[in-house]
Each structure stands twice: as C-alpha cells, then as structure tokens.
C-alpha cells in the first residue's frame, strides 16, 4: 500500500525503492544492457519479420533451391527453395513462444509450490518435495516420447513436456529461499500481528525471494530454448512446414555443404543464449551489490 501524503501537508519524499535502485545499477552495466537490447531486438524481429517480409516461410519454390546468401535471400534458401531469413525468424518465434510460455508457467508453479512447501514445512513439505524427487527421476526424453506416442505429435505437447520438468528446479530454489526467509524476524513480527499465512507468503516471502527467482528465470529461458531445440532436433514437437531453431539446425547439420543452413540459425541461437546469460549475470550483480 502506498500512502499519499500530499493532502496532509507533509513533505514526505519517497526514496528510491528496491527495484528502482536495482534498475539504476543494471543500467550502468554495459554488457547486460547490450544483451538486454539484443534480446528485445531479436524478439521484435521474430514478431515482425515473418509478417512484413512478404515472403512465405512454407511455400516451396523450385526455381530457387539451395541458393547461398545473396541480396534477395539474405540468409540463402533451403532444399525446397524457401527463404532462410524468414524461416529463421519464424523458427525463432516458435522457440521464443515455447520458452517464454514455459518460463512463465515455471515461475508461477515453481514459486507457489516452493513457497508453500518451504513455509508450511513439516509433513506437507516432505510429501511435496518427495513428489518433486519422483518427477526428477523421470528421464526427460523418455517422458517426451511417451507423451507423443500417447497424444500425438504437436507443438503444445513439447511445451507441456518442457514446462513439466523445468518447474522442479525452480520450486527447489524457492523452497530453500523460503526456508531462510521464514525465520527472519520480520516474518515473525507479521505473525505476532496475526497476519494470515497466505498473506505472509504473498506480502513478505515472495517479494523477498523475487530477486533470486528473477535471476534464475532469466537463466531458465535459455535452458528452455535449448530443450525445445533438442526436442525438435529429434523431430519431436514442431512439425514441417512449421519450423523452429532446433529443426533448422538439424536440417543444416544434414546438409553440411550448404553451410548457411547451419550457420544462421545456430548463430542466432548462440547469440540469444549468450545474451540471456550475460543479462542474467548483470541482473544478479544489480540485485546483490557487493
């Protein structure tokens, strides 16, 4: 709750809150800011390029098969004559969609699951964390193949598969943080004032672990990108003519003489991964200045 003091005739300057000072520290970190800019630009291009390029990503064009990069097709074309520039960004779009959506689910589920397990503790904690342990035991690829044989191959499924295993780490991290916050005196002060457990979690626990969580989330997104690429590399999840970075890289790897087929999608992905890593690093430094 923010109190407005204007009508009370008090000069009560609000000083920089936690998040604003984090941002001002972050903005001084050039590497992190550049990385952030690259991420934003790539995301925007993934949205914009397929819409405005006027070139279809899925139409076969027999007249322009396997062209190396040139002025018309900046990234060249593939074995069906499709423009790689457009395909790279439509693939990026799919990849980002899966990664961001999965990261969002991971954040939501991981935070609440971990915070409840850590805060309530005791038997509830034991049962909840054993469930996590059991899920950890399931081999990822095996799990995906099982899902696909049961429900058929679809993009939604690869998203479900990735989200289902990725929240486990997050919930463990959040639980650990919660355990340490739970014994802080400000949480006990809230208890002594009769604040309900749910309010304590949402008002005191989650805001105080958000810093760690955000850094971890920023590190999770590239993980998701890699996972979705791995799935599509094996032909799971996204299917032709739709594409993703994983699929493009897999194609490129099979046509090594057409070097551009591998170089551009892989290059984009590596740039993205590095940017996320640097950005997360900068975020961590900004959150925890020492």
């Amino acid at each position: 709750m923010i109190f407005k003091t204007k009508n009370l005739d008090i000069d009560a300057p609000a000083t920089k809150g936690f998040w604003r000072s984090v941002f001002s520290r972050l903005s001084r970190n050039k590497l992190a800011m550049t990385s952030g800019l690259i991420i934003v630009t790539l995301t925007l291009m993934c949205i914009v390029v397929p819409i405005f390029s006027g070139v279809s990503y899925d139409k076969t064009n027999w007249g322009e098969i396997m062209q190396s990069p040139n002025m018309v097709h900046w990234f060249g074309t593939d074995s069906l004559g499709r423009d790689l520039f457009v395909r790279s960004f439509i693939g990026g779009r799919i990849t980002f969609e899966i990664a961001f959506a999965a990261a969002f689910v991971v954040l939501l589920v991981g935070i609440f699951y971990g915070a409840i397990a850590g805060y309530v503790g005791g038997k509830v904690d034991t049962v909840m964390m054993r469930i996590v342990d059991i899920l950890y035991g399931i081999p990822f690829l095996f799990f995906c193949i099982l899902l696909i044989t049961l429900f058929g191959n679809s993009m939604a499924l690869s998203f479900v598969a990735i989200a289902a295993i990725s929240w486990l780490d997050m919930s463990r991290i959040v639980r650990g943080q919660t355990l340490s916050i739970k014994h802080k005196e400000y949480v006990e002060a809230a208890m002594v004032s009769g604040v309900s457990n749910f309010k304590i979690i949402t008002r005191h626990v989650i805001p105080n672990l958000l810093g760690v969580v955000i850094v971890y989330a920023a590190l999770t997104v590239p993980n998701m990108i890699v996972l979705s690429a791995v799935l599509s590399f094996f032909g799971l999840g996204v299917t032709e003519p739709m594409t993703s970075w994983g699929l493009l890289i897999s194609d490129g790897a099979q046509n090594m003489q057409a070097w551009w087929l591998l170089l551009f999608p892989a290059g984009l992905m590596i740039i993205t991964l590095l940017s996320f890593a640097f950005f997360a690093n900068g975020l961590r430094d900004a959150l925890d200045p020492r």
Binding site: M1, T5, L8, P13, A14, V192, S193, G194, V195, N208
Partner: protein, 322 residues
C-alpha cells in the same frame, strides 16, 4: 494490583531430529514455571543463553507452541489452548519487540507499510486515511519525523530501526509489550535513548513490559521485578531491591558477581564467584536441582531431587539452601 498474565506450570518443549530410525530427543526449553505479571509493571526475565527466556517470551505471543500448562491472559484467554480468533484478540493487546532492529523490518516495505501492517490486519475495516493518521501519530510518539514515512528501512540506523519496530508494536495500543533483548544489539550511546523511550512510553501509555535480557545492568535500571531463569526453571523471583541487594539463590549471586562494572577500583577488588563448567544440555537436564552441576554449594540432596519453590523474605526461591 490486577494480574494481566497468570502462568501456571508452563512447559515449552521442542522435538529434535527424530528421523525414521532415530529416537526423538526433547529439548526442555521451559520446564514447568509459574509466575504472574501485574498490570503496569516491568518484569525482567534474565538468564544466560539457553536458559529458556526467549522460548518463554515467544511462547507467550504465539511464536512457539506451548507444550503444556496454562497462561491465562487478562483473566479470560488461556494461551495454551486459544483459538485463532482468540489469538487475534491477544495480538491486539500483546506485542513483541525483537532483538535485531534491522532484521525485524521487511526491506521491501516502506516505513508506513511496516508500521501499518498490524492495524490493517487486525482492523481490516479501518479507512486508509485513518490508518495513515494513526501511523503518523505513532511515529511522532516514538520520536520519528513524519517526512520519513515513505522511506525504506535500509536508510535508517539501528536505533531508528528499533524506533520503527516499537511504533509497529504500539500502533495497536497494546497492554503488554514483550521486549526480547530489544536493546542488546544497539550501540551504547543509542541503547540509553531507546531505554528512556521505553520508560517514557510505559508511563504515558500505562504499559506492562516483559523485558527479556542478559544485561543485568539494563534490567536493574528498567525493571520493578526480576525473574531469574536457569535451564528452563525459575531460580529466583522477586522485586528488584530483593534480588540485587538481598540475593538468595547461589546462581543469582554468581550471575551478579560476574557482571563487569564500569569502575576499575571495584573491578580490581571484587570477588567473582566463577562458575565451573558449562550449562548442561536441556535435552538431558540434571535429575536433581538443575543448577546442581555447577553450584558451589550443591550436595547430595541437591543432586538427588528437585527443590520446590518457596517464599522467603518476599522472594520466590528454588533452592534447598536458601
């Protein structure tokens, strides 16, 4: 005088470890104590670390579970079996001030948010304007200025943080304040400010204070009555003059003699009763008197059975020798 808190045979035990194949061990933090707190007094609870004074204080305001016994609050609510509705009533009238002034404030909240939290929680119908007025009035009461209302705790020194903590406790206009080592972490020059503030507030608001501390100098200054604890048991209980100038229990004597006084001539000449050894484990307290393992006067009787508390010269003492 009216009793505001009646504690009878109160026990606070914690279970340790106890895995699938390990037997559970029980820490006897508070092991059956009786005392009353009267309205308007300051009762000091002293003892060394591990004596159970903090566990007692925390149990009284609901941070620890009471294992058995009873603690009757204001003659009507037994804290040992209070419902959550009754606890809310208790929270309105009994508040807690913590040891570490900085750690007791949520770093992500402004001063106003911190101080208003108890009010918003226990009086959810109160209007926002009223809440803010109350916050500002309480800040003034504890010596904070109004223009600090939107600042964050990191910008305050330890002494100011403790003032914020006191304001948070006082905004509900409680009857009892439990101070658990509330001035121990402060610098010497700030400590005196906060002690004076607590005393002024007590007079102004007719507060009852439970003052838990290991600092016998501070306790002597601020308290009317003093309760000396050792290993979860009461050793001696009485008013200040009785405890300090007519000490009966050997543990209290040792404790008082060990306090260093800011007076070199006195320090060079005084006789310190050095206690041998360490505090026994509260998991296996001694069979006889809990102090018998370190007591200079202990004999076989002391080691064989627990002494019952008795009243001598207006003291409540738990000792065979007194």
């Amino acid at each position: 005088m009216k009793k505001i808190l009646e504690v009878k045979n109160l026990k606070v035990h914690f279970e340790l470890g106890g895995g699938m194949f390990k037997a559970k061990r029980v820490v006897h933090a508070v092991d059956g104590i009786d005392f009353d707190v009267f309205e308007g007094e300051t009762l000091g609870i002293v003892g060394e670390s591990g004596c159970g004074k903090s566990s007692l204080a925390r149990a009284l305001c609901g941070l620890n579970k009471i294992t058995s016994g009873s603690a009757l609050f204001a003659g009507k609510i037994d804290l040992a079996k209070a419902s959550s509705k009754e606890w809310n009533e208790v929270h309105k009238q009994m508040q807690f001030i913590f040891q570490d002034p900085v750690a007791a404030l949520d770093p992500r909240m402004t001063v106003a948010e911190i101080i208003s939290e108890p009010l918003i929680t226990l009086y959810p119908d109160m209007k926002k304007d009223q809440v803010l007025q109350k916050v500002l009035a309480t800040m003034k009461l504890v010596g904070l200025t109004q223009n600090q209302v939107n600042r964050y705790p990191q910008e305050f020194s330890g002494g100011q943080c403790q003032r914020i903590g006191i304001a948070r406790a006082l905004i509900l206009e409680p009857k009892i304040l439990i101070c658990d080592e509330s001035v121990s972490a402060l610098d010497v020059s700030i400590k005196a400010q906060i002690i004076n503030l607590l005393q002024e507030l007590q007079q102004q608001l007719k507060l009852t204070i439970l003052f838990i501390s290991h600092d016998l100098g501070v306790v002597k200054h601020i308290c009317n009555r003093i309760l000396v604890m050792y290993l979860g048991n009461i050793m001696e209980l009485g008013n200040k003059q009785a405890i300090y100038s007519n000490t009966l229990h050997p543990y209290t004597k040792a404790l008082l003699s060990a306090v260093p006084v800011a007076n070199p001539t006195l320090e060079k000449t005084k006789q310190i009763q050095l206690l041998e050894g360490d505090l026994p484990s509260p998991v296996n307290p001694p069979k006889g008197c809990v102090f018998s393992t370190r007591c200079p006067q202990a004999d076989d009787v002391c080691r064989a059975s627990r002494p019952k508390g008795k009243i001598i010269q207006e003291h409540f003492v738990t000792c065979f020798k007194a």
